[in-house]
């Protein structure tokens, strides 16, 4: 991408998309969390206030990470243990184990998913999914071991499988999301197709058995086919979501005019915020959200199709796929097209740590857009020394030396 004064650069465009999504999120969380208070005049709700602060922090983190070269994630030596991606995986695993320990992990709504971390609570599963993306992007492009052999392929799956198993205990939705994104990244990372063909069906079979062998899980999985079969039990969330779409209609009731959010629709600021958006903004709101996600996907595609370093392309693909897959699953749940999963709508649903971590991941995408490396970018032997002293101009000049184009 040319840096030009005449057009928006892609990372600025991404910043606008992130700000738009966060802004819409703050607006909708505020709207959805409003209730009948009897007070006249506008008031920020607790959730709205929190969301506003988190969005500010998220944008700050996005801009911060955007400025930093993503190549720092690549180890300077070929040792696996020195790679930041490996350490990220290890930290994620440790967090996932820690959250399972009573008194350490915090339990909410019957699921132990949160780790107290200073001022806020962190979901290890949020950490895990981005760790997997970064790890796979590095592993698949730098290939510390030979992935063309089946043995090497299986070794690749070990850490990811381990982490996914740790996540599945606490959060089935995120685990499924990790599995789907892993599959897509393996596919794009030029793994042999027959390797996938051998591994994927058994994994899917195990997953299916896991769901089907307990009747209550199976009932929950198939409830979306006919929510009215159990309107007060499994079908309740789904019915209320359907009613939100029906109440709003194509035109919507206008911002703040939603009725379903007044206690009828559960999880109206988190998992089912899309239903609130559609009730208040109608089809337009749905289109708006999808256009913004497609904007992120387009940014990833811009990186993917350009001639540049493999790690950056792979990472951009992973980030774009992760965000958009999560969004599609959330939308599908809200429209009662698939079974209910506890997945939030990225950047819009209320929720502190997930929001900030997602902003950080998108900052990474911004960094990829901003910092462009050559096709076979090698890690500078001693980059740290040089970079510390470098001004921005010199920095650019130095990169132009690396760039063959």
């Amino acid at each position: 991408m040319d840096d030009s004064i005449y057009r928006l650069r892609n990372h600025d465009l991404l910043l606008l998309v992130v700000i738009s999504l966060l802004g819409l999120g703050v607006l909708m969380v505020q709207s959805a969390s409003m209730g009948v208070s009897g007070n006249l005049g506008f008031q920020l709700t607790d959730l709205g206030k929190k969301q506003l602060i988190f969005a500010g922090v998220g944008i700050g983190l996005f801009i911060l990470i955007k400025q930093v070269d993503y190549m720092r994630l690549v180890p300077r030596s070929r040792s696996v243990w020195l790679a930041p991606a490996t350490w990220l995986m290890l930290i994620a695993m440790a967090a996932c184990v820690a959250v399972l320990i009573p008194h350490v992990g915090i339990e909410k709504n019957g699921a132990r998913r949160w780790l107290p971390l200073g001022v806020m609570q962190v979901q290890p599963s949020e950490l895990a999914k981005w760790a997997v993306v970064i790890f796979l992007a590095w592993w698949l492009t730098y290939r510390p071991i030979d992935l063309n052999r089946f043995g090497g392929f299986l070794i690749t799956l070990v850490p990811i499988g381990l982490l996914t198993l740790l996540v599945v205990i606490q959060d089935f939705g995120t685990a499924a999301l990790i599995a789907v994104v892993t599959l897509a990244m393996l596919l794009v990372g030029r793994v042999k197709l027959w390797h996938l063909a051998v591994v994927v069906p058994p994994v899917m079979a195990i997953g299916l058995w896991f769901v089907a062998h307990k009747e209550y899980r199976w009932k929950r999985m198939t409830a979306f086919l006919d929510p009215y079969a159990a309107p007060q039990a499994e079908g309740y969330h789904m019915i209320q979501s359907l009613l939100s779409f029906a109440t709003g209609g194509l035109a919507g009731t206008g911002i703040g005019g939603g009725i379903q959010k007044l206690g009828y629709l559960p999880e109206d600021t988190t998992d089912f915020i899309f239903a609130t958006v559609c009730e208040e903004l109608g089809l337009f709101g749905a289109l708006l959200i999808i256009v913004f996600y497609l904007g992120i996907l387009m940014m990833a595609w811009q990186v993917m199709k350009s001639k540049r370093d493999s790690f950056g392309r792979m990472l951009a693909f992973g980030i774009g796929t992760m965000i958009c897959t999560q969004a599609t699953i959330n939308l599908a749940v809200a429209t009662v097209s698939v079974p209910t999963k506890g997945l939030s709508l990225p950047l819009i649903s209320s929720g502190g740590s997930g929001l900030i971590i997602t902003c950080g991941a998108l900052g990474l995408l911004g960094s990829i857009l901003k910092h462009r490396h050559a096709i076979d970018a090698v890690v500078p032997e001693k980059p740290r020394k040089k970079r510390v002293r470098k001004s921005k101009v010199i920095n650019n000049r130095m990169w132009s030396e690396w760039t063959t184009a």
Binding site: G35, V36, L140, T141, Y142, R143, L147, A184, L187, V188, G189, R190, I239, L242, L243, F245, A246, T247, G248, G249, L250, I259, Q260, L262, G263, Y264, C278, G282, L283, A286, L287, I290, Y293, L294, L297, A300, W301, M304, K305, S310, R313, M314, F317, G320, T321, C324, T325, T328, L331, A332, T335, S337, I375, D376
Partner: protein, 611 residues
């Protein structure tokens, strides 16, 4: 270094874009056609509709006295589900506690606790079970003090009849749903009931109200008030006298109608026995029937003035004409049928035919008029037609069409058989003689009071001058003068008043029982009015099946009671006492049976004061 595959990536991205597209389609579908299935459910959960009850209008008599009114009272209801949940939340055994609660409530409202427990058990999931209606303040306070969960009061409207059974047949009554079942309550139900409004409130999930759209609020239109032409005082007098007569002669039932001859307004309309409109469902259907206009009967001699009048009018006869009655029986109808009188006379003037109520004289007259003349005479007074009074269930009575009449009809009709009239029709016919020949329209409703408090009178109501002149004023006044003699020296002397000059005609008719006449069932009636000089009231009183061992003649059973009604009512209306009656015209005096001018003089003028 291995470069990722752009081709495979484009495949993945394309899939994501396609899924987004499909989701947009899904959203659009759910918001448009797909919403049909859900929208009703959404509205049901988000909106709460509640009726705004209209207050039923009151009914007043012509003087503004309340005859039927609506008061708001409280009903007690229970929410069994809420009650059980509350007890459960308090950590108590719900069934045990509920039984105790029911026991305490039942002690106050005086119901059987087992019954109520059973009811609540059957409807344990219900949110509204009504336990008692029409609670007074003290009861409500007592129940309030129990401080039980899931107990509430809801306002309900109760219809009150402050006059008890007075005018019960005119008022009718309402059913448990508040709709009229009889009388004006039924006839004017729509007007009295008004229109219930309703309110649809948007509520949040905790049922706190949020807003009401302008379209969703329809205010209740309260019912209009009704003002009757009934005078509660006269009505009371009539009911007292009617009941006294019926009880004295052990009659089965009786009816009386009092009308204002100049306007057609019904001042009193009574039936015996009465019922209490407050507890309408305790009265049998039989008893609730307003017989004064629903049950026509064969009038007997009371029909005679309505034949003589038109005969005089059409100059078929003169009041001084003398009929050769010749004894108590006369073979009419080619000798195959004997017409009988109670008393035998040789010669009777037309005047005396009415005064003595001679069947033979009437038959001679009617033979001269012919079937057509008789038919026209009856038809001119609208017998056989509904009067159109504002009460439900009126019967038209019966006057056969002329082609159904046979050669026996002439004599039957002349004596008031082969036809049926209602007491109301008789009273209305009598009005024509009282007011100089105009057939007025009977009314029971004076007007309505709208929401603005103004009295609205029926604009289509006819003025007196617009009423059809069914008989000439001369003939009408002549008949009225003859009818005065009925009271002075004829069959109705027991109705004679020392204050006023009444006119009237008695009737004693065989009534058919099980399709055959017999010697034990009679209908005694009296139609008349007063005072003669300027009639103010007209009455028709009919008493069915008095005990024959006591009395059965109209002049004995009905006439004294009717006379008392007229006397007391005229006194109540503060009508001046009448002067002595004018003597009959000289040419009539000559042919009258045992004429004695002294009988026309009042014996003494005393004001009778009744307790």
């Amino acid at each position: 270094m291995v470069a990722p595959s752009s081709f495979r990536a484009s495949g993945v991205f394309l899939l994501i874009v396609l899924i987004f597209g499909a989701l947009i389609g899904r959203v659009g579908y759910l918001q448009s056609w797909g919403s049909q299935k859900n929208i009703a459910r959404a509205e049901r959960q988000q909106f709460q509709a509640e009726p705004l009850f209209a207050r039923r209008g009151s009914v007043f008599d012509r003087n503004g006295m309340l005859m039927a009114g609506t008061v708001q009272s409280q009903s007690l209801f229970v929410d069994p589900k809420f009650m059980a949940d509350e007890f459960k939340n308090l950590g108590l055994e719900p069934l045990l506690e509920m039984d105790q609660a029911v026991g305490r409530i039942c002690k106050i409202i005086d119901r059987n606790p087992l019954e109520i427990s059973q009811l609540l058990g059957d409807r344990a999931q219900s949110r509204f079970v009504r336990l008692a209606d029409n609670l007074d303040e003290a009861t409500i306070r007592a129940i309030d003090r129990l401080d039980l969960p899931g107990i509430g009061f809801s306002p309900s409207n109760i219809r009150y009849y402050p006059m008890g059974s007075i005018a019960s047949h005119v008022l009718g009554g309402v059913g448990s749903d508040g709709n009229g079942l009889e009388g004006v309550e039924l006839k004017f139900n729509k007007l009295l009931a008004g229109r219930d409004g309703n309110k649809r409130t948007l509520k949040d999930a905790r049922r706190r109200p949020i807003s009401v759209d302008a379209d969703d609020y329809v205010a209740a239109q309260h019912g209009q008030h009704l003002i009757l032409t009934i005078d509660a005082n006269i009505q009371t007098i009539v009911e007292q006298e009617l009941a006294a007569a019926c009880e004295k002669f052990k009659a089965e039932n009786g009816e009386a109608v009092v009308m204002d001859p100049w306007t057609g307004e019904v001042l009193a309309l009574a039936n015996y026995p009465t019922f209490n409109p407050q507890v309408l469902n305790e009265a049998t259907q039989e008893r609730r029937r307003d017989r004064a206009l629903t049950d026509p009967y064969e009038p007997g001699s009371t029909i005679k003035p309505f034949i003589v009048g038109p005969a005089l009018q059409s100059k078929v006869t003169r009041s001084a004409e003398v009929f050769p009655v010749n004894g108590i029986s006369w073979p009419a109808g080619y000798g195959r049928r004997m017409i009988r009188d109670v008393h035998g006379y040789q010669r009777l003037a037309l005047w005396d035919v009415l005064v003595k109520s001679s069947n033979i004289g009437m038959c001679m007259l009617s033979q001269r008029m012919g079937n057509k003349g008789l038919h026209d005479a009856l038809k001119s007074f609208d017998f056989g037609k509904r009067t159109g009074i504002e009460l439900p269930g009126e019967d038209p009575g019966l006057v056969n069409p002329l082609k159904k009449w046979n050669r026996f009809s002439t004599e039957s009709i002349a004596q008031g058989y082969e036809m049926r009239v209602t007491p109301l029709q008789l009273a209305r016919g009598m009005c024509a003689y009282a007011n100089g020949g105009r057939l007025v329209q009977p009314h029971v409703v004076e007007g309505t009071v709208g929401p603005d408090g103004r009295i609205v009178r029926d604009a289509s109501r006819k003025q007196f001058s617009q009423a059809p002149q069914v008989i000439g004023a001369d003939a009408a006044n002549q008949v009225r003068r003859i009818l005065c003699d009925v009271v002075v020296r004829g069959t109705a002397t027991r109705a004679r008043s020392t204050t006023y000059n009444f006119f009237g005609k008695t009737g004693t008719a065989h009534s058919a029982k099980n399709g055959a006449y017999n010697e034990d069932n009679y209908t005694s009636s009296f139609i008349g009015g007063g005072p003669y000089e300027h009639p103010r009231l007209v009455i028709a009183m009919v008493i069915h099946n008095p005990d024959k061992s006591l009395a059965h003649f109209g002049g004995t059973v009905a006439a004294p009671a009717a006379g008392q009604v007229l006397q007391r009512s005229l006194e109540y209306l503060q009508i001046a006492a009448s002067p002595d009656l004018p003597l009959p015209p000289p040419q009539v005096q000559d042919v009258l049976y045992a004429f004695d001018p002294s009988v026309y003089r009042k014996k003494s003028v005393t004001v009778s004061i009744k307790e």
